[in-house]
């Protein structure tokens, strides 16, 4: 929930990406992520990561947030996962681990660097998109890419009710904790969690009936209309061309 609030605040900031048309941002970021996935050279992926960091700086995204929210979680996990590959990947041994005597292979090092760099670059681009764009604008932009309207509406409604149900779950646990003295046994804690999930399930189904009635009361007949009021400015076309050029160059250089 905190991340949702900080992302909305970030989207309101006056950085370079915040000023762009959401459709350009979505297309640009997706093409950069695709370039990261397609590239077969670690130095090209590292260059794309540098582009991501430069975009973050230009968009006034605090680097501390980028490091704590993205790199520590996603990249840290992948680093831990990539370490055994250094020893397990067959190939030319370049060094030997002291004491254990395990061979460190060149292919293992390259493979581990592919994995970590790809995760870092893709996670940075994904974070940039969300941090600099309101969720409602991301959804509208998805609609511009011909995603079925019913799916876009489901996504919008889901996001809105995630925040509500998270609050409901938080309140339930807080209420229970405030009435609990001492430490509960394992069985009791399991019962508490499953009961809370059960109550939350009943609440969500009840809420869905109420939301449906509210929609019907406002004339909903199963058709959805969205207000699409994006307009491309010159800076947007320029940015779109830049995104396309960088992605194409990365794909070409990393082939």
């Amino acid at each position: 929930m905190e991340r949702a609030v900080s992302a909305e605040a970030g989207a309101a900031g006056g950085g370079w990406m915040q000023r762009l048309d959401p459709r350009v941002k979505l297309a640009g970021i997706l093409s950069l992520i695709a370039a990261v996935a397609v590239s077969h050279r670690a130095d090209v992926i590292a260059a794309l990561l540098a582009v991501g960091v430069a975009l973050a700086i230009a968009s006034r995204v605090p680097l501390s947030t980028l490091i704590s929210s993205v790199w520590l979680a996603a990249v840290g996990f992948s680093c831990a996962l990539a370490v055994p590959a250094i020893f397990l990947t067959p190939g030319r041994a370049v060094a030997t681990l002291p004491l254990l005597g395990w061979p460190i292979t060149a292919q293992g090092l390259t493979s581990a660097s592919y994995l970590v760099l790809r995760v870092a670059a893709a996670a940075t681009f994904g974070f940039l998109l969300v941090f600099t764009t309101r969720w409602s604008h991301v959804l509208k932009a998805l609609r511009a890419f011909k995603l079925p309207v019913v799916f876009v509406v489901v996504l919008a409604m889901t996001y809105r009710y995630i925040l509500l149900l998270l609050e409901a779950a938080h309140d339930m646990f807080l209420a229970r904790r405030s009435r609990t003295v001492g430490r509960l046994a394992g069985v009791e804690r399991r019962r508490l969690v499953t009961q809370s999930v059960g109550v939350l399930l009943a609440k969500s189904l009840h809420l869905s009936s109420e939301v449906f009635l509210a929609m019907q009361a406002r004339g909903f007949r199963g058709e959805v209309y969205l207000l699409d009021d994006f307009a491309m400015a010159r800076a947007d076309w320029l940015a779109l061309a830049s995104f396309a050029a960088v992605s194409a160059a990365a794909v070409w250089a990393g082939r």
Binding site: G91, Q107, T110, V119, V130, I162, V193
Partner: protein
Amino acid sequence: MHIPDGYLSPSTCAVLYAGASPFWFVALRRLRQRLQTRLVPRVSLFAAFSFVVMMFNIPLPGGTTGHAVGVALATIVLGPSASILAISTALVIQAFFFGDGGITALGANCFNMAIVGSLVAFPVYRAVAGRAPLESARRVVAAGLAGYAAINASALLTALEFGIQPLLFRDASGAPLYCPYPISIAVPAMMLGHLTIAGIAELVLTGGVVAFLQRTDVTLLAATAGRRVPSSADGAVVGAAGSLRPLWILLGILLVLTPVGLLAGGVAWGEWRASAYADPAARQAISTASLDHAPPSVPPGGLGRLASVWTAPLPDYAPPFLRSPAVGYVLSAMFGAGLVVLAVTGLTALLRLRQRSGSANDTVNP
């Protein structure tokens, strides 16, 4: 279980996006027919619920905790079609907004967790629960087992997707481009955690919530309970989950298509036999694949020693009784991918047969 960007090749991601889309289409069409205008709020609220449940820490026996996906719970309450859509929606928001699971790997994550999870959970639940009353303890066991089977089937599929990456995608030096671990490492590594912690978390969550619903609002379990399931609350309840046949046919088609992606010519880089070093044709192939570096005249000592230690039950992915390695390769791939599905289908058929013979006996001796 949420695969991030960078672990799967773009072609694997594209195949899994393409594999998931017919299921989304069929599920959406079936729900539209049944729910009509109620579709949007029902799926949205349940997707939001699934998202929140994925964040719960489930306390497990032994003092540890684990996260659950909740796919079996969604399937039991809503039916497989709505579950596929709701869990997929939750995964889309996780990928885009919270960076949990990659954007390129979104199709893979939806296929593994939402689609295969729902399609495994539903028959297991129905088969084990049989015609037991809605309030019976058997349904709690069935729900727990459905959760356990669903999450482990998803984990196995994820591990297989990881495992084929180093087999198919390497750079010129032979370094794996994406996930570096072969099937022999990826499957045990994934399954160890899922057969124990994650599987039990799913079992505790699904069984526990079904037990709670039996005491509080048993009607929520009626939709997928099957026909003529007795309930003390309102006499007979008629199930409305609909036939799974179209979804199973889709999965069957995908299973047949799976090995097509594996039919690459030649031997994967670095996977040469010790005998290949003595064969002139094989030496030429190794040299061509290694940027014209000639292989050593004798096989590396370690390779020679270790080659005879372990003979896989399906060596080179081809059963020994098959003459054509290509056919064997295809069959082995289908065998691997279809093992879980076959086990579930067999179990369902067996239990259905027993139920039928039970009901026949009831007719003869009322």
